[in-house]
Symmetry: C2
Subunit: 175 residues, 2 copies
DNA sequence: GTCTATATCCAGATAGAC
DNA sequence: GTCTATCTGGATATAGAC
């Protein structure tokens, strides 16, 4: 993960991984059949449990506002996976490999569905009728996903990005 | 660009580019010193003029709402660069190469500054005082950037992504 | 200006000793 | 289970003819 976050999947050579791990070529190939399998393993490792923070969120009382939910999710993610650059690498790899897009888009869709469930509760809590709350949740969920993805991209790409300012700004928008 | 959007920078071989272009190795190397220079050229080509749509926007009357501005920007971008997958590849390359991050983050910062200028006008238009409008614009601009980036990612990664629904949802949020 | 043919290098992967 | 040494393929880049 250190190697891949640093240089991306393709630019990382097995030699880099051998050096970083302190093992030898033979040892590594006894654990992973080839480089692709290693990448797959790391990708699953990174994406796994990304949804856990959002499970059952809609049953919390008091129901936290969207800004707090997004902050919690991103905080948890940052804490879990370290350098979020690896996520950008995963997105790019998925965009370039039709066979791997499924796993990544599956996670995105799962997150969206979980946000959707939370938002339905939130809008109902705010006084919308059941049907209206549901429709609004479906519409807004992709924006919430985008706000998470854009945060990650800017953390990685923008020097001196103001993460706290970003979270504070989330409080200013009403969905 | 076709090759790079399809497979990413690293996984695209010069042989792929030779085939796609219909030229020979020798011909291509007479135009570009090496592969890296070719990548740089394509990257600049894609990022160039990305900011043009947002120039002078704050002087338009009537001042368009944020949702319309974002839609216009993304529509223009989609029309200009074709498959937005190449943008995801550019982000990943920048995240992995400290020497190339500068150009990409420069464009992100430029876009953010332009959105900021527009938002200042928008919030003033909405009745906020000059100082308050300025502060709010600075705070909210990164969110607007994120909404653009997230749109691009979801277009690329989510099968059957509902672009029109996304734009419609932007109207629902007030900043 | 463009082609073919090829030199050179380096990455991924393996064999077999220990 | 892990190591060293090495094979093999494919990638970038070049030389020189046309």
């Amino acid at each position: 993960m250190l190697c891949f976050a640093r240089a991306g999947f393709e630019a990382t050579s097995m030699a880099d991984i051998i050096t970083e791990s302190g093992l030898s070529a033979g040892a590594i190939y006894s654990y992973f059949k080839n480089k692709q399998e290693l990448i797959l393993h790391v990708t699953q490792d990174v994406l796994e449990n990304r949804a856990a923070d959002l499970e059952g969120l809609e049953k919390q009382t008091p129901l936290p506002p969207p800004a707090a939910v997004i902050r919690m999710f991103l905080d948890g993610m940052t804490h879990d996976i370290g350098n979020p650059s690896i996520l950008v690498q995963i997105w790019a790899a998925a965009a370039a490999a039709p066979e791997s897009v499924e796993m990544v888009s599956g996670v995105v869709l799962e997150l969206r569905a979980l946000y959707e469930r939370y938002l339905r509760a939130w809008f109902a809590h705010r006084g919308l009728g059941e049907k209206e709350a549901g429709e609004r949740a479906v519409a807004v969920a992709p924006l919430v996903v985008a706000l998470c993805q854009g945060y990650i991209l800017q953390i990685v790409l923008v020097p001196d990005f103001d993460a706290d300012g970003y979270f504070a700004a989330l409080d200013l928008v009403t969905m």
